[in-house]
Symmetry: C2
Subunit: 389 residues, 2 copies
């Protein structure tokens, strides 16, 4: 199985690059891959552009193996995709969702969407290799259950695996959404970065950690729970019971609250007009107002970015990552948020931690979670099935 996993983590590599990565001789790699091609587990996909000499065949997991399902559930959104073993997307659907409706309602919709998308591709449910799902809360990875999720208390200890297992025979794997964003980026990078972080800023603030080239989940699975790091001892009370948590002061609901106050105080005609028209504001509208030059909106986004940067500075001093990737809905606000985060981190962190630190939006954009869900399904299914090589 080691070779199949290596092929999956090296999608688009030649036989020879694979042999190097596995520390096999070329002849051993050739013999092994020939066997796996014969068994229908691997296939060749044309010729790779080479820097000189003869061109090398690229290998990938055989499409005939089946498909994987990726599910990315956010606090307010749901993405489902059917993917090839190389995580190429065959069908994808995205819609608004509300996790507070409870697991019964939400998972019924997930099941329905999986069926619809499979039918759209003409793929039988029997051809599903694995299902990977990201959820916006702390997960016990072994049992695939949420543990005391603050945003979705009804999901506590609910068996997602059992629910989906009634309909699909494929194994079901569940992880925290931002862990899967980190896994998605790690897969896309073919593990070329060993130590980095992914921050998701949306309804809450969470962090996925890659350490020594693997997603790090912590001693009890709650690593990366940075939303409740204190950034102001005199700050407002958070739903967790503490004061001044970065999530309570800088995530989407805080941006909306600050913008509503600014509109009501007459500090922003643009936001006041939107508030009158719709009865409420969204973080996206604050971003739009900022891009249009609204001073109050700019100040709110800078404040949010600065607080997030303050939290990140602590974490970067501790973890010294090579990259921080920022994702989640709030990143659609635009470049001002990223600039404010960067300014705050570079100001507060030690020179040594930040001298080579790269802070940018997630390269996979809003697909990071979905790619990570597919990578989880494929990786864990390969581990589970243990096909003999």
């Amino acid at each position: 199985m080691h070779l199949l996993r290596t092929v999956f983590w090296s999608t688009g590599s030649s036989r020879h690059a694979l042999a190097d990565r596995l520390e096999f001789s070329k002849s051993k790699a050739n013999a092994l891959t020939a066997g796996l091609i014969e068994q229908g587990l691997l296939e060749e996909i044309g010729l790779q552009q080479s820097s000189g000499g003869r061109r090398a065949e690229m290998l990938q997991l055989a499409r005939s193996l089946g498909v994987v399902i990726g599910v990315d559930l956010g606090a307010t959104s749901l993405d489902v995709a059917v993917m090839r073993p190389d995580l190429g997307i065959l069908a994808h659907h995205t819609e608004d969702a509300d996790v507070r409706a409870g697991p019964g309602v939400v998972l019924a919709r997930v099941r329905e969407l999986i069926r619809e998308l499979l039918a759209r591709c003409g793929v039988s449910p029997k051809k599903v290799i694995g299902i990977g799902m990201g959820v916006p809360g702390p997960v016990d990875f072994a049992s695939a259950q949420l543990v005391n999720p603050p945003l979705m208390p009804e999901w506590d200890a609910f068996s997602i695996r059992e629910y989906l297992g009634e309909t699909f025979t494929a194994p079901v794997f569940v992880d925290n959404d931002v862990n899967l964003m980190a896994l998605g980026e790690l897969w896309r990078l073919q593990r070329s970065l060993q130590n980095f972080m992914v921050i998701k800023i949306g309804t809450g603030i969470g962090c996925g950690i890659v350490c020594h080239g693997e997603v790090y989940r912590g001693a009890t699975g709650s690593a990366g729970d940075v939303g409740h790091i204190c950034v102001d001892l005199a700050g407002p009370r958070c739903h967790c019971g503490n004061f001044g948590c970065v999530e309570a002061m800088a995530a989407a609901p805080a941006i909306v609250r600050m913008a509503t106050e600014a509109a009501q105080a007459g500090e922003s005609p643009a936001l006041a007009q939107l508030l009158r028209a719709n009865g409420k504001l969204t973080a996206m509208e604050v971003g739009q107002a900022s891009r249009n030059g609204d001073a109050a909106a700019n100040a709110i986004i800078q404040r949010s970015g600065s607080l997030i940067g303050q939290m990140l500075a602590s974490v970067v001093n501790f973890f010294n990552p090579s990259h921080v990737f920022i994702g989640g809905g709030v990143t659609q606000i635009g470049p001002l948020l990223l600039a404010s985060v960067r300014q705050s981190v570079y100001h507060r962190s030690l020179a040594l931690s930040t001298r080579h630190l790269d802070i940018q939006y997630t390269p996979l954009g809003n697909q990071a979670g979905l790619v990570g869900a597919g990578a989880l399904a494929m990786q864990e299914s390969l581990r589970l099935h243990g096909v003999r090589e």
Copy 2:
């Protein structure tokens, strides 16, 4: 080399426990160890107490291999030891030191102490397998040099390896002091804990990180630099240029400063008397006053512990370790400091991160750095020499 390293990391284990750990059959493990015993690399050390049945022989690295040297240099102290391959101490010397005297002065003393201790044991310098040294600043592990060390600027890019290499032929390995405390505890635990932190509180505050069962040094070697995490935006200016760093507000110099102010303000007759007698105070004296029931000393220690706990709460939310071990000179203050740290962390961290979190003083006490230096020397020498098995 793999088996020798496994024996080193399993000091005191039986052949059969070793075979389990290596996932070898008993017969393969027996054959390999017999060969290594014949080559003089391993030796048997009597019989292990067994829970039943016949008793199994314990294996260890052969004493005839030679000795390792451990050097633990703190900002104000120097420890040097000669150790057996199983890190049993043959000779040990500790004395006050001042790293600000520069590498020439300090390393000449290190060299002299190594020679003296070897002579005391009757061991030739040629029998030194490796030298491991911890230093109180950020280290580039590959070059064994300090990089911009704030406490010891004269050491920047000084080649410790070259200096000691003029006298000793054994390879020299250098790491940050608190990374070596973490390595020492990891070795003592035989890697039974996979994810933990060691905090050193002395002149500065630093952190060693163990992640996935290995010491984690970060993308550029500065992981664990927690001393400059901000705990009070309105706090005093730190030598790093920022405000409210935990090191500036809670490490030994801050404790001494607060105690001196309390003595001068007439808040503590006990501290005032010590100040008059000696012209200055030490953190140890503040600890002694606290243990004698001095209210001002108690308040100072509680404040220091609370600020350190506040920094730790952020880091624990992010990293979710199973254990936090606290070491360094300031721990000699006594149980009140530990109690204050615990109270602050448990108050501020998410329930999920702290439900099973264990916070205690380093089990190896003030020997953690020295054991870590020996472990570094042995581990890296085994890796370097690549003796064929």
